[in-house]
Amino acid sequence: MLQTKVLLVDDETEFASALAERLRLRSYNAKAVFHPEDAIAAVQSDPPDVVLLDFRMPGMDGIEVLKIIKKIDPAIEVIMLTGHGDVSSVEEAIKNGAYAYIMKPLDIGELIMKINNARKKRNSVS
């Protein structure tokens, strides 16, 4: 089976890099970008299976990025990364096509499960 391609989008570089490495250790094809523009470019050029998208980023709102990704390729599943307190925004994200959300700091096991489920969904769709 192909490794699940995961794109991490978060402006906290240390966090995104560390998490990406952890995912790679678990045999995910994980890549981290730190700017929304880079995320959109990456989605266009090298479409991932799952996107882990941070809500609050300078430059572009997470929801905005979500909409654009979904527009580019609706099959891509997006999991929103959120700090406590953004729960109301999560609702909006789901409305706009987000698959799920996970709160930071996150539990890696929970994340893996959500990524796999998202992948399954994607497979079933396509």
């Binding site: 966090f15 952890r22 307190g85 700091p105």
Partner: protein
């Protein structure tokens, strides 16, 4: 009665008279009754006929009634009768002549008198007459006629002169004083009358002239006098009016004084505050009744013992009272003071004491007039207010903190997430088998990364604690630029995530200010938060520090949000005024910020234009203000 026969008895024998002088005495022919002038009876003396009558009754006759005697007697009587007849005849002739002459004379006299009576005094009767009486009468008639003629003449003359006099006097009475009586008169009296009249007229005329002159003079004098009197009267009138006015004024003033006294007494005695008037030597001249309510001691007690005020002052506040009291009585500059007393019932009471020097209208120092107010309640209220202000400030701060909490949580969350992944990675590496040496480098790197994240968190938590810890107002020398940077650090993440562009123009040589850092941070945070709320996403905020003048510096916080409409602009500093929807914001922020800056001696100004943006300018004094 003689019984003896009286025959030819002699009378002197009968009577026994002895009157030898009597013609009958010793006569031979006794016929005493024929003798006249006998002395037998006094009554007979001189009266022959009567004698005869008496002799008829006399005893002598009776005694000598013989015929010779009777004859003799009759002869005598006859002679007598004849004599008588002759006499009578003579007498008759005489009488006839006389009466004829009388009649003629009387008729002459009658005629003459008639003539005289009719007014013609030209009567001259022939005065010759045998009868002396007639000639006398005629003479008298003539004289009378003469006299009357003279009188008539005289009276004519009198009449003429009187008429003249009357005329003249009449003229005089009509005012003609030049008229004089003229003519000459024979009559001395009339002459002198004329003279006197003329003299009288003369003198009257002179008198009148004198009088007229005097009158004129008098009139002149009178006019002058009247004029002067008028003047004086006018003067007096004026003075009188003035006096009257003065009296009215005085009465008014008196009335006003009475009223004022009443008013002031009423005011003084009913005043709520404990008022007194202390004379320069320390005696109390007036103490208002309220002192009993406030201190528990009666006014009289204070008056009796002026030191009572000092006695009831709490020992801790005694120095305040003493120095103020001394200054006041010596009319030195002094402040109003606040101190505590112990009431008669033991309770402690806060007194606010205000006093002024009292002087009379000559400037003499009369002492001090003081007003003492029981401000215990006010003090308590002030304390409560201060506490509540304090609490409000705290609440404001808490509100800001609350706002920041979300941001802070997010901020801390990120480092935590990092720690989580790095620790997780470390765990992964440890659980994976393999060369530990290789991983050693990575571990060191990861642990380092964790420490960095912890530091990040520390900075954030310290910042937050630093802000929340400041409860008391502490004045210190502050670098405003640093303070502003600290404040912006609180919300930098939020600014970042909202894509707000932040521009700082902080003047490098900004003078340091002496103020309270915590409160300034509170204010800046409030205003910057408002700016962030205003611009929402993609806006622009500028912060500028500058010097206004030698006393003030300014902090400008400008945004390009929608601006504040003019009608709202007037209200933004009002407490509880907010344009945010319910639940979002208390409306207290700006009002508290305004209050804080005011208390620090500065001010907040706002400029705004709809669609263009808003600028808040905070002016802060460089040096601390007093009080």
């Amino acid at each position: 009665m003689r019984d003896k026969k009286m025959s030819t008895m002699k009378c002197w024998e009968i009577f026994q008279c002895n009157k030898q002088a009597c013609p009958a005495y010793g006569s031979k022919d006794l016929k005493c009754w024929l003798f006249s002038g006998t002395h037998c009876r006094e009554a007979i003396q001189g009266k022959f006929l009567e004698k005869m009558e008496m002799c008829l009754d006399c005893e002598v006759l009776i005694a000598n009634r013989d015929s010779n005697a009777i004859k003799a007697t009759l002869n005598v009587v006859n002679k007598q009768f004849k004599e008588f007849v002759r006499i009578i005849g003579e007498r008759d002739n005489e009488l006839e002549c006389m009466s004829m002459e009388l009649a003629i004379s009387l008729s002459e006299v009658f005629e003459g008198l008639k003539k005289i009576a009719s007014g013609d005094p030209e009567v001259r009767l022939d005065e010759r007459s045998d009868i002396e009486l007639i000639s006398k009468l005629k003479h008298f008639v003539n004289i009378t006629a003469q006299e009357i003629g003279g009188i008539v003449d005289q009276s004519h003359e009198f009449a003429i002169v009187l008429a003249e006099l009357f005329d003249v006097l009449h003229k005089v009475s009509k005012g003609d004083l030049l008229t004089r009586v003229t003519g000459e008169s024979q009559v001395e009296l009339l002459e002198s009358l004329k003279t006197v009249t003329n003299e009288t007229i003369e003198s009257i005329s002179k008198e009148i002239t004198k009088r007229e002159r005097a009158e004129t003079d008098l009139k002149k004098a009178y006019d002058k006098l009247e004029h002067r009197v008028e003047e004086r009267t006018a003067e007096l009138k004026l003075i009188n009016e003035q006096l009257w006015h003065e009296i009215v004024q005085r009465k008014k003033v008196e009335e006003e004084l009475r009223e004022a006294e009443l008013r002031y007494r009423t005011v003084a005695d009913f005043t709520n505050d404990w008022e007194y008037w202390e004379a320069p030597e320390g005696k109390l001249r007036y103490v208002s009744p309220s002192c009993e309510r406030i201190t528990g001691y009666k006014a009289e007690q204070f008056i009796e013992n002026p030191g009572l005020i000092s006695e009831i002052t709490l020992p801790e506040d005694n120095s305040i009272w003493k120095s103020h009291h001394h200054d006041a009585l010596h009319s030195l500059g002094h402040r109003d003071i606040v101190f505590r007393i112990r009431r008669q019932d033991g309770q402690i009471c806060w007194i606010e004491h205000v006093c002024q020097p009292v002087t009379d209208n000559k400037g003499t120092f009369l002492g001090v007039r003081a007003s003492n107010r029981d401000i215990s309640m006010r003090k308590r209220a002030e304390d409560a207010l201060r506490k509540s202000e304090h609490l409000l400030l705290q609440a404001h701060k808490m509100e800001a903190l609350g706002r920041m909490a979300a941001g802070v949580a997010h901020e801390i969350n990120n480092p935590l997430a990092i720690i989580n992944e790095k620790a997780g990675l470390m765990q992964d590496f440890l659980e994976m088998s393999g060369d530990f040496e290789q991983k050693r480098e990575k571990f060191i790197g990861l642990i380092h990364g964790i420490f960095e994240s912890v530091n990040r968190c520390r900075t954030i938590t310290h910042r937050l604690l630093g802000f929340s810890r400041r409860i008391d107002v502490t004045f210190e020398v502050i670098n405003l630029n640093d303070t502003i940077r600290e404040v912006l650090a609180f919300i930098e993440k939020e600014i970042l995530y909202r894509n707000i562009r932040l521009e700082l123009h902080l003047r490098e040589d900004l003078p340091k200010v002496f103020s309270d850092k915590g409160q300034l941070q509170q204010v800046f945070l409030n205003i910057v938060n408002n700016a962030v709320d205003a611009v929402e996403k993609g806006g622009f905020i500028e912060v500028q520090t500058d010097v206004k003048n030698e006393d003030f510096v300014t902090v400008l916080i400008k945004d390009n949000g929608p601006g504040i409409p003019q009608n709202i602009l007037n209200h933004i500093f009002e407490p509880f005024y907010t344009t945010k929807e319910k639940g979002k914001g208390t409306g207290l922020g700006l009002s508290i910020s305004y209050g804080i800056i005011q208390k620090l001696g500065g001010s907040i100004l706002v400029q705004s234009e709809e669609q263009k943006g808003t600028s808040f300018i905070v002016e802060i004094p460089i040096k601390a203000m007093n009080g």
